[in-house]
């Protein structure tokens, strides 16, 4: 850059938009142990999500034989599960689990 272009001084406005701060909230208390619990396995529509969960389910079963599993897939890409028609089914599913492992296949 030539000296001529660097001599002038510019006072400039910010292009970065304001945003209302989102109040932070905590996450849920953890389980004391996995044994005897019902674990939900949640996947999305992407290619690797379901096979990842199948492998994980096998590994967890080997280590924690008393764990039960229930699976749910949100197959609507980029749609939050509570914002589409599968909402009620999802809510019932969540009620029946002690914890959830999610794998999103991106």
């Amino acid at each position: 850059m030539s000296p001529n272009t660097t001599s002038a001084s510019y006072e400039v406005l910010s292009p970065w938009a304001e945003a209302d701060p989102m109040p932070f909230r905590g996450i849920s208390p953890r389980l004391d142990a996995l044994a005897g619990k019902k674990i939900g396995l949640l996947t999305n529509s992407k290619r690797a999500a379901a096979p990842t969960m199948q492998v994980l389910k096998r590994r967890l079963t080997e280590k924690f034989p008393s764990v039960e599993f229930t699976e749910f897939a949100n197959l609507k890409p980029n749609e939050v599960i509570t914002e589409h028609a599968g909402k009620d089914e999802f809510e019932n599913w969540v009620k029946g689990v002690d914890a959830v492992i999610s794998a999103f296949g991106d």
């Binding site: 002038a8 292009p15 945003a19 909230r25 996450i27 999305n44």
Partner: protein, 450 residues
């Protein structure tokens, strides 16, 4: 990721497996939704490209962390995170010389990599002459950051992009299009962020095209015209600086897309034998509009001949599989086809019927969610020997007329709105529009003869 937050809100502990390349995206998403402590495990999997042996190894490597994430008691910060400090944005953000200012903006990720014009108070005030809306007028909050899209912020980004005040009405309308885009798979919340590297493609119709000199002739999509270049560039900066959609953080496009620098065209309505795109979409010819789609790819080809047979046979032979299509025909090709009686609707129907692919290709593609389940929702099996339409709904095809003399046809291929959802926005002009146009319309390149 958002689904995990929903589950945590229902008092159930979660852990989320994310590919290590998505760690920044995950953190941005969880903070953006107010849950910074969401537990996730960066892994080599899951990833769309993972093979089974990699998945097995990835799960084994992450196994202990997964168990720990579900059982290790919460830290105080995870249980009750400290409130996020409110941003105290300074309106005047920097003072310095040109080089310092450009570097300051670049280092904050506020540019597209190219030098920007300093958005000084004076330059922004001049830009604001392009609208009657007050600077603090809030159009809405733009995903993903829910940044406040005020008229002044649009003007600041417009100055940076090198826009003229006469582009403000287009930029305001285009921002409204993003704000009012359908939520979910077929809207900006997918196409602005997706691994698919979709780029916004803006089509301008109506009288404003000529008043602000948007090129629709030779090289319409090439660099060299300020309107085509600066409008798309400004929208890219608006998406980044108001929406907070940054490459590799929120915009997770795998390959990226050079069309994200700018992809703007006007339709050559004067030379078209058909009704313009915006009239087809229900606006009057006297109204001006901007229409958006989100292509991934741009391809051009020669026709087999200059008549409808030669043009349209080549179109169906070159049509790639995708979701939405904009076909750009030159005025000459359009007139040749119209003379034979082809309407835009005829052309769309012909493409839907004759652009076909082997069933074997469908059978090898996994269904990508319920939004794209495959023909007939896979309730019937497709035989490898069947042929199936490449495009199943003529409303997924747009036809516009643009380009210079010659014989090439362009396909702009990718995503776009669901038919019936928001895809076009009327452009509102300020009351002193004619005066403003008069001031700026002579700014056109005059090439020296040699």
């Amino acid at each position: 990721m958002y689904d995990s937050i929903v589950i945590e809100d229902r008092k159930k502990p979660t852990v989320t497996l994310v590919n290590k390349g998505f760690v920044s995206d995950t953190q941005s998403a969880s903070r953006g939704k107010g849950m910074p402590g969401l537990r996730s495990i960066p892994t080599a999997i899951p990833c769309e490209a993972s093979m089974m042996e990699d998945i097995e190894a990835g799960v084994d490597a992450a196994f202990d962390d997964i168990v720990t994430a579900l059982t290790k008691p919460l830290t105080r910060e995870e249980e009750a995170p400290r409130p996020k400090e409110a941003e105290k944005p300074t309106r005047i953000i920097f003072k310095g010389n040109l080089e310092e200012m450009i570097r300051f903006f670049y280092k904050r990720g506020w540019t597209d990599g190219l030098p920007v014009i300093p958005p000084t108070e004076e330059a922004v005030a001049e830009m604001l002459k392009g609208t009657d809306l007050p600077p603090d007028h809030l159009l809405g909050k733009l995903e993903s950051r829910m940044g406040k899209a005020t008229v002044e912020k649009i003007a600041v980004n417009a100055v940076m992009a090198g826009a003229l005040p006469t582009y403000m009405p287009v930029l305001i309308a285009a921002t409204k299009l993003l704000l009012e885009s359908e939520r979910g798979f077929m809207g900006f919340t997918t196409f602005g962020f997706s691994t698919g590297s979709w780029a916004p493609f803006w089509i301008i119709n109506g009288p404003v095209r000529n008043e602000i000199c948007v090129n629709n002739g030779s090289g319409a999509l090439s660099p060299g015209n300020i309107a085509n270049a600066a409008i798309g560039r400004a929208m890219g900066l608006i998406i980044k600086n108001i929406g907070g959609v940054r490459k590799g953080v929120e915009d997770m496009g795998v390959m990226g897309n050079p069309m994200k620098y700018s992809m703007v065209i006007a339709e050559n309505e004067e030379e078209s034998p058909w009704e313009p795109l915006h009239v087809e979409y229900g606006y009057s010819k006297e109204e001006s509009t901007v229409t958006v789609s989100y292509p991934q790819s741009y391809l051009q080809h020669w026709p087999y001949g200059s008549d409808g047979e030669g043009i349209l046979r080549s179109v169906v032979d070159n049509l790639p599989r995708s979701m939405r299509y904009t076909l750009i025909f030159t005025p000459t090709h359009a007139k040749n086809m119209a003379r034979e009686g082809w309407t835009k609707e005829d052309i769309k129907e012909f493409i839907c019927e004759f652009a076909r692919m082997p069933g074997s290709r469908i059978n090898r593609m996994p269904p990508i969610g319920t939004a794209n389940p495959g023909p007939y929702g896979r309730k019937i099996s497709i035989r490898d020997t069947d042929t199936v339409p490449t495009v199943r709904d003529p409303r997924f095809i747009r036809i516009i007329v643009a380009g210079g003399p010659g014989a090439f046809i362009a396909h702009v291929v990718g995503g776009g709105a669901t038919p019936g959802m928001k895809q076009t926005q009327k452009i509102e002009l300020p009351k002193d529009w004619d005066k403003l146009v008069k001031k700026h319309r002579d700014l056109v390149p005059t090439y020296a003869k040699y």
